[in-house]
Each structure stands twice: as C-alpha cells, then as structure tokens.
C-alpha cells in the first residue's frame, strides 16, 4: 500500500518532541553548532608524537634505493620507517576489502602518484613534514597505465608484478543475467539504442580528512586507536588479522566523524603506519592527512566506462537492457563490497522496469591510479547502475520520439508484481512507482514546463527538463550471501533501561553526520515509549558497543534500525511480564499504548514503562522465572535488502553563448518506506542532491598522460557551493518494506544515486536543438560547448 503525502515544509511540530517518529531537532547538534564536537584531530594524549607520510611523486616507478639518514638526523625526529623495514615485520602489505593486497609502504615499486613510500614520526607535525623532504628516494621511472581502455593492450606495462605469475593488468571479469536470452530479445526488437556512457572518477572529499591516533601500550599489549572510520568493528577485526594483535586487546574508537560518504570505509595505509609508529616509538602517534593526500590517495568512486544497449518495441515497451563495462580499479583492488559482489550491486542496472531479459559483462583492470572503487554515497555501485539505465532510457525516448516521463510510466514494474525478481536475480521487496512519479510531475508542473520549453526553444533559448526514476538496493545484507572478508553483514544492538526509566542503546553503526543519535533514539522511543531525550545512543567505540559491520551503503536504518526496533520489542516483552505481575493480571489481558501497559477494558489500571523499570531493578517480587533488570541484546540478520525508490525532475537553463548550465529547479520525491525523522530525511536528500550537482557539473579526478593527478586540491577538484544549487523541492510517498520490522528502507544515498542522471538528462534535453543525445559528466561549460558543436567527448 502506498500513501501519498503533500509536500511538508512546516516545522511546526518540531518542539513537540515526539515519543517516537516525527520531526525533532537533532540531539547531537548542540555540540556541533557550538564547536564542541570532538574529532580525531582533537585527540591529544600526553607525549603524543606526529606522523607524516612521504608519497610517490610519480605514477609508476621502481624504487632503486631510499636514504633516510638525513631525515633521521633532522631535529625532533623519532623514527623513519620504510617499506623494507615493514617487510621485516611482515607488515609491508595488507589485505584490501576485496581480497587483493595493497602496499602499506611501497617496497618494490610505486604504482600511483601519492602512494605511501615512507613515514616519519616526530615531535610535531612541522618537524615530521620537514623531515620528509630529507628522505632521498631514487626512482627508476616506468611507463604508466593511465587510460583503462589501454590497460589490456599487449605490451602494456604490468602494474601488479607483485602478484605471482601476473603478466597483464586484468583485475577480474564478472557477468550477470542471461546472455543468450538477452541476445534473442535484442534480435527481434523493433528498436535498439546503443550509447557509450562514462561515469568519471570522482572523490567523496569529506570535510574531515582521514586520520588516526594510535596508542599502543607495550606493557599490557593493548592498542587504542582513535580513527576516522565508518566501520569500527570491522576495522578492529582486520587489525587483529593484519597486525597480529589479539582482538580483545584492540579498542577502535570513532569519535565525531566529519563526513564519510564511503571514504572512511577502507583501512588506509596511514592507519597502519600510525599503529606501527606507536609500537616503534612507544608513544601515542597522531596521523592526519592533509587535503591533497585525501584527494590523491584515498578511496575514489565510480570510474566505469559503460556501453549501454536497450531494446524496445516501436510503441515504447522496453524489452531488454544489456551493458558492457570496463571498470578502472586503480593500482590495488580496494573496492569495499560484499565479497561475492565484485561489482557491488551493479546488477540492479535493470532499474525500475519490467523487462524480459538483461545481461551485463564487466572487465575490471588495474591502472596506475589510486585504489578504492566504492565510495561517495554510491550504495555499492548502484550509482553507476542507475545512471546507466536512466541515461539509456532517455536515449530510447529520444529515438522513439516519446516523452521520457511517459516512457517510464509505461514500463514500471506494477505494484502487484512485488516482491519482484529482476532478470539479474534481485528481489525488490516493495514498490508502487507510479504515484511517486505522478507526485513529482505534479510538483514540477510537468506539462507547463514542457510548454515553457517549447516557447523558449522557438526563441532560441535553451531550457531542459530531466527525469530520473531510481530503485536502490540498500541495507546489506543477508548473512547467507553477504560478507566482507568473511564477516557477515548482520548488526548487533543492546538496550538497557535504567531504574529511573531512562535508557541507553548501543549500536555498531557509526554516524558521520547522519543523525544516528536522534534517529535511533526515536526508533527505540516508538517501541517502548520512553522519550528520545531520555535515550542515550552510544556508538563508535568497540569496547562499548556490540559487533556489527558499520555505516555505508545506506545500511544503518535497514539493518541497525531493525536491530534497534527488535531489541526494544524484546525489552517490551519482558516489561509486559513484569507489568502483569504489577497489575495482577495475565499478560494476555494487557494492552500496550505508547509508554504504558493497561488492563484490557480498564484503561485506568496501568503501569508506565518507567514504573516497570523501577520494579525490574527494585526489591519487590517479580513474576516467577523473571530475572531482574530490564535490558536485552540481539543480532539482526536481514532477510533481504530494502529497495527505496524515487522520482527526480530537474530543470536547467543553458546559456547559448557561454554554455553555462544553471540548475533552476529540482524536484525530489523519495520513497524510503517508513519515515522516522522527516527533517533528517530531508537533510540527507538535500546533501545528496548537492553531491549530484557536483558530479554532474564539475567534479572529476582527472589525470594527465604521465599519471599525475590533476585534482589534488580544492582549487582543482571542484565541489558545489550553495550558489550552484536551487532551493530543493522535496516530496515523498511511503511504501513500507514488508520484511523490515518497522518498514523503513534507508535514504542516505538515494539522492546521490538519483540526481546525476536527472541533471544530465536535463542538460541533454536542453541541447536537443543541437542534435545532442548524450554528453558525459562533468558538464562543465567547455564540455557542454563541445557537445553543442557536435564534438562531445568522453572525459579523459
């Protein structure tokens, strides 16, 4: 069942402090707006030293020798460590999240510009940085592989000669769907449209760069590590495996995190260096990378070179979608994705459409670029998949001369088809697409916009309307087929109600700004009737929270949100038994309404959850077999992913003289199932839409032919400001997830996934008078001008 709501702009109920779902200000914000957040770089420990990393200035070179003597003699320097020294400790290489290995410090070769070569630990960060300049590295420069399209050419330099028997730059092949069935459908289709579509390499660029403070105590063998991580528990287990420190002796603490967007999922060499630095010097060691280091060496996103093909009938029935993808994974395969999903969840490239066949073949290659591959709010490659399908559907609309909204409406999976198994095997849990699409069109005034466009075209003005309709797959995931390095993707949760009726809930997921301290308090409040203000949310410290895989892929609410609801129900079940004793009736005669049990048929006879908490901890009798206390813990294993969807409409104006694009309006209707705090949802959507403007119009990590990164500062790598974005117009529909305990689907990445195709479709639509059917991101003025002249080029 879908219910359609009017757009909600009012904030009138904000101060009502709902006991459960509803708009309320974020509990964490007072400390942020007062500058009292505590980030990794705020951690100061007695005797703490500072670490700086020497990075490769070139993309591909053999290391002939490293002379550290001058650096060692530099004032304030306590240690200089190279790859050769790490190799002696068997720490020069570490596993990546995709079963590849990555150099902590280069031993044999450097494989991308910015790769870690050595580190210095010194009394302050100035001394550490000064000493880096005194390290003399002799490089034997090798030809780099920069263009992924040429990585598999015979004679291409072999990047990964560290892998035994490796003679080329092939990383992996992957396919999904039915090749033969798809070919058969294409063969009989009236219309086939093919388009080459590139999703360029971009970077999450969180405001806080990555860093760590490592404090190893040689006496008791304990390691405390404050680090910028979205997944503290997963990191702790990996450190135990890599560094050989017993897991119970490792405490990973993620304090306030200044943005992640996937950038803080992987373990970076810098974290390991900080740990080694602390072990070597016997002191706490802080490493904070600078902006350039973050941009050139940490997890990038995208970098898919795609050929999309779509087959349809002449009257606009989509029959099949086929794609061939060349994936650039950089020098090491550092992709963070469930192990059995080397291309993440790219398999949802069939989109929101009921089609007969689909097939994808992917080849991934190594290049001399930074490793990573999944980041920037992408829901495990769904960003690329949605961009592909929503772009190619627009190409089909153009070919058929059909309105793109009409084409989409005609092909949607129908509500009665859910749960719907796609031709690539994904089981969409629920959806009702047409009301969402219709609401977006109504908010936009779609018909009127088309009329305006027609008038403007007649006057030579360039206006474009772009639509994207997405279905996401989030909340990884069922442990039977989803794990990261063997760790199942289920999440624990603990809830403890104190004697006075206040509570603490402990989570494994880690907020990077999403508002977990509020949302999770509201989830628990909804279930047990304790006001959110009385519920403390604890996260980010492995010593104080249950195990779980962390926050990425929009999984916090779908996985840990379910855990929080279920653990609260478990507590409520116990409370019911205690209440039955207090009210001297059987549990069957009790009814629950927010915050209290009362006797059926006698509402005056009731006990509140606070009364029950006191009794649970008090001296009086409890029903037979009931232990004291009021707390519970669980581990939630999702039975399926959740599938949020949304309809986005973008209106752009393009200056015909300068080719500058202005995003005039953006309408975003999201359906993330049950809505917990609408204000937080809107905030997530606003942020993601802004991300989308960045990627569509300006962001790209580019390289020159020597493999030099051309996006190494905020001056070169542009991210959007308030001046590039319109006032967002948001709306929503609600289609609850049938298997999620509270029906919530997650929304963290929806807008980042859905907005780039809407914006690109709008720009391409504006350029229709020039015969443009496709132009690749980023649509900078120069690139739009090229497209207007019929010279659109891929962004290399």
């Amino acid at each position: 069942m879908t219910t359609v709501h009017e757009r909600v702009d009012t904030f009138h109920d904000n101060d009502q402090k709902p006991v459960g779902y509803g708009r309320m200000l974020r509990k964490e914000d007072p400390r942020f707006v007062r500058g009292r957040g505590r980030y990794v770089d705020d951690v100061q420990l007695p005797g703490m030293l500072h670490l700086a990393i020497l990075r490769s200035p070139v993309a591909h070179a053999r290391i002939v020798g490293i002379d550290t003597s001058a650096a060692e003699a530099s004032p304030g320097v306590k240690a200089v460590v190279t790859g050769a020294m790490l190799a002696e400790l068997n720490l020069a290489w570490m596993p990546t999240l995709s079963n590849d290995v990555q150099a902590v410090l280069a031993t044999d070769k450097v494989r991308f510009q910015g790769q870690e070569v050595a580190f210095v630990v010194a009394e302050d960060r100035y001394a550490a940085r000064d000493a880096l300049e005194l390290i003399d590295v002799e490089y034997d420069i090798l030809d780099p592989v920069v263009d992924a399209r040429r990585a598999l050419e015979p004679g291409a330099p072999v990047i990964r000669d560290d892998l035994e028997g490796k003679t080329d730059n092939h990383c992996f092949d992957w396919e999904t769907g039915d090749e033969a069935a798809t070919e058969a459908v294409f063969a009989r289709a009236d219309v086939v449209v093919t388009e080459d579509i590139v999703y360029p390499r971009v970077h999450p660029a969180p405001m806080e760069t990555c860093g760590a403070v490592a404090d190893f105590d040689a006496v008791d063998g304990r390691l405390r590590l404050w680090s910028t991580t979205q997944a503290p528990h997963a990191h702790r287990t990996l450190y135990a495996i890599v560094a050989g420190i017993p897991e119970h002796k490792i405490q990973v603490i993620a304090p306030d995190i200044g943005g992640g967007f996937g950038n803080k999922v992987p373990i970076y060499p810098g974290y390991v260096c900080a740990i080694v630095g602390s072990i070597v010097t016997g002191k706490p060691v802080k490493w904070m990378e600078d902006r350039s280091e973050n941009l050139i060496s940490t997890g990038f996103a995208r970098d898919y070179i795609m050929r999309g093909e779509i087959a349809a009938t002449r009257d606009g029935r989509i029959l099949a979608i086929r794609t061939n993808v060349l994936a650039d994974h950089g020098a090491f395969n550092g992709t963070a994705a469930p192990v059995k999903y080397p291309a993440g969840f790219f398999g949802v490239f069939t989109g929101s459409y009921d089609i007969e066949a689909a097939y994808c073949k992917m080849t991934a290659v190594y290049t001399n670029k930074a490793p990573g591959g999944v980041a920037y709010a992408c829901s495990f490659r769904i960003t690329e998949a949605v961009y592909l399908v929503e772009r190619i559907v627009d190409c089909l609309a153009d070919e058929l001369g059909m309105d793109p909204a009409e084409l989409r409406l005609k092909n949607f999976i129908q509500p009665e088809q859910f749960p719907y198994t796609t031709k690539t095997g994904w089981v969409y849990d629920s959806g009702d697409y047409e009301p969402t699409m219709r609401l977006a069109m109504e908010m936009a005034g779609y018909a009127e916009l088309r009329r305006e466009q027609e008038e403007k075209r007649a006057r030579g003005e360039l206006m474009g309307i772009g639509i994207a309709f997405f279905t996401e797959a989030v909340g990884a995931g069922p442990r039977k087929n989803m794990d990261i390095l063997g760790l199942g993707m289920a999440d624990g949760c603990e809830l403890r109600v104190h004697p006075t009726g206040k509570a603490v809930v402990r989570l494994s997921v880690q907020s990077q700004g999403q508002g977990h301290e509020t949302t999770f308090a509201q989830i628990v409040a909804e279930e047990i009737g304790i006001p959110p203000a009385d519920i403390d949310v604890v996260h980010g410290d492995t010593d104080n929270t249950p195990f779980g895989l962390g926050t990425y892929g929009s999984r916090s609410t779908p996985v840990s949100g379910a855990a929080a609801a279920l653990v609260a129900r478990k507590v409520r079940d116990k409370a019911r038994i205690i209440a039955s004793g207090m009210l001297e009736v059987s549990v069957a005669d009790l009814e629950w309404s927010k915050g209290a049990f009362h006797v059926t048929g006698d509402p005056g006879k009731s006990v509140t959850i606070q009364d029950i908490a006191l009794r649970a901890h008090g001296a009086g009798d409890l029903p037979e077999g009931v232990e004291g206390g009021l707390e519970a813990q669980i581990c939630y294993n999702p039975s399926n992913l959740t599938y949020p969807h949304g309809a986005y409409i973008c209106v752009v104006d393009v200056d015909p003289g300068t080719a500058q694009v202005t995003v005039r309006r953006f309408i975003a209707v999201d359906d993330c199932g049950t809505r917990i705090n609408p204000m937080i949802i809107e905030g997530q959507v606003h942020g993601g839409l802004t991300d989308g403007v960045g990627m569509a119009l300006m962001e790209m990590i580019a390289f020159d032919e020597d493999g030099n990164c051309l996006g190494a500062s905020m001056m070169d790598y542009l991210i959007p400001t308030a001046l590039e974005v319109p006032d967002w117009e948001t709306g929503f529909t609600v289609t609850p997830s049938p298997h999620h305990p509270i029906g919530a689907k997650g929304v963290g990445e929806s807008a980042t996934v859905g907005s780039p195709p809407a914006i690109v479709n709008a720009v391409v639509d504006a350029l229709k008078p020039f015969g443009v059917r496709h132009a690749d991101m980023p649509l900078t003025p120069s690139r739009v001008w090229d497209a207007m002249r019929g010279h659109a080029q891929p962004p290399i």
Binding site: D41, R125, Y126, R129, D130, E133, M288, D290, R291, S292, G657, T658, A659, Q660, L697, M698, A702, L710, S713, M715, D716, L718, P720, T721, L723, E724, T780, P781, S782, W785, D786
Partner: protein
C-alpha cells in the same frame, strides 16, 4: 593540515620599514598582505621563503580609495571587500563591483587586497583584467622613498612575474577618470569563486554618440591579462552597435592566445573571448550612454 617549511616572520610598522627589510633580506623575503595566494603555495611547499614581512598593520596608510578630478587613487592594501562596497568606485567604474562579486568568496574578500592581486600576476586574476581595462598605472616605491609609476602592460612582465624589484613594493594604483565612460565585467567560471575560465572587462567612452575610446581587458587567455590594443583600434571612432561589438569580439578572439587546461579547451576559451568581449562592451556602452 598542510604545513609550510620554516620561515621567519616580522610585522612591518611602516612602508619604509617594510622596504628596508626587503632591501636587507633580498629575494629570500616576501611581503604578505591577504596571503590567499602566498600561504597556499607555501603550505603546498611550491613556494619557500626564509622571511615573511607582514604589511597588514599598514592598512591605515595603504588602505584607501581617493577619488580625484582626473583619477581615482587606490591604496595597495585596500581589501576586496572595500572595493566591492565603495560607492565612489561603483559610480565611476561599475566594473569593479561586478568583478569583485565574482572573486572568490566573502572570507577571501575580507582579507585579500588589490596590491596582492596584481602582484600575484596570475593570468586568470580578475582585478588585473579590471586594471588593464581601465588603463591603470601602478606606483612602485623603492628604498629612500623613491617612487616610479608604470603602466599595467609594464607592470606584468610574465605569468607570476611583475616589474616590482626585490627591494620595492607596490603602494598605489591610479585609475584615470575621463567623462562619458561606462564599464562592465563578464566572467565564466566553472563554479562560484573559481578562477576564470575566461573573463573580459570592457570600458567605453562616448563622445557625441561615437566611441571616442574603448578598452578591453581579458583574463586567462594569455601569459598575462591582455589589453587588446587591436580591439581598441577596431572600436575607436565607430558607433556603438551590436554588429560592431560582434566584430570586436572576433578581433579579441583572434588576438588572444589561450591554452587547453582543466578549465576548458583553447577553442572554447577563444569562443568565450569573443562572447564575453561582446557582452561586456554592450553593457559598458549602455552605461556610457546613460
């Protein structure tokens, strides 16, 4: 956090003090005013100086906008924000406020200075294009209070290179005021606050409905901001019409020398040189008429 190499730092208490320090320390010293170009380069260790001489305390002496009958004199330490908000400047040369509105962001504009902008000599820098358009002259002071005055063409001797010597300092910029003038600024940037892909300043002086003089200053299409004498020659003595501006744009495009970079292709920049020249001239002429 990016940290610069070690340097020594002194705050100048007077212009002569600053010049005296420069004279003593030579090319190992650098003046710092707003610091918005210098400090990032030092943090990236692209520029390393042994000494920084901070002249921000001299704002009382060098931060001013003084309108006169024949010229407006602007002190080198005048901040972007002061240029943006000056009513006198807006009346005489609307190009200033138009350019300032698209220079970086308020935080940068609160601190960055006119002198610093010109001395950085970045070919994409907006105020250099403005001063080129307005035929500004630059007052350079040396040891012993000696002063020399150079034109913008002489001031910029190459990318990131000026006529200011090791023991000298830019102290003032002078803008000639002539009757019947109008000015405007056009910029294309990839994002608010970015350096120009191309920008164009234009100033037009009318006499009896005919262009008595016109100047165009283009940024980001050559080694320095370019004065475009060919464009001035094409405009002088003509009636200000759309087709004339179109022709002037074509001359500007033909006379400039852009290169392909991350901000855009050389072809696109040449196209913009024409388009923005045309637009800036159009608005400058409208203002000259009114």
């Amino acid at each position: 956090m990016q940290v610069p190499a070690p340097f020594e730092y002194e705050r100048a208490t007077s212009v002569d003090h600053a010049i005296g320090l420069l004279e003593r320390l030579g090319s190992t010293a650098r003046l710092i005013a707003g610091g918005h170009s210098l400090l990032p380069m030092m943090k990236l260790r692209l520029a390393n100086f042994d000494y920084l001489i901070d002249i921000n305390d001299l704002h009382a002496d060098l931060g001013y906008i003084r309108p006169g009958r024949d010229e407006i004199r602007i002190g080198a330490l005048t901040r972007h924000r002061e240029l943006l908000e000056s009513a006198e400047l807006a009346t005489a040369f609307p190009i200033f406020a138009e350019a300032e509105r698209v220079i970086a962001d308020p935080v940068v504009r609160n601190r960055g200075t006119l002198g610093g902008s010109l001395c950085q000599a970045d070919p994409s820098e907006d105020l250099s294009a403005v001063c080129t358009t307005l035929d500004a002259s630059c007052v350079i002071r040396g040891p012993g209070g000696t002063e020399r005055v150079v034109s913008m063409e002489e001031f910029h001797v190459g990318p990131y290179e000026t006529a200011v010597g090791d023991a000298e300092m830019l102290v003032e910029v002078r803008l000639p005021v002539r009757p019947g003038g109008g000015s405007a600024y056009e910029k294309v940037e990839r994002r608010a606050g970015d350096w120009a892909v191309v920008s164009a300043g234009a100033a037009v002086w009318l006499d009896g409905g005919v262009i008595s003089d016109a100047r165009v200053g283009l940024a980001a299409v050559g080694p320095n901001t370019t004065g475009m004498p060919e464009v001035s020659a094409a405009l002088r003595g003509q009636e200000p019409t759309e087709s004339l501006f179109e022709r002037a744009g074509a001359v500007a495009a033909a006379s400039c020398d852009p290169v392909t970079d991350q901000r855009g292709s050389a072809d696109y920049k040449r196209h913009l040189a024409a388009e923005l020249t045309k637009r800036a001239l159009r608005r400058a002429a409208e203002r000259a008429r009114s």
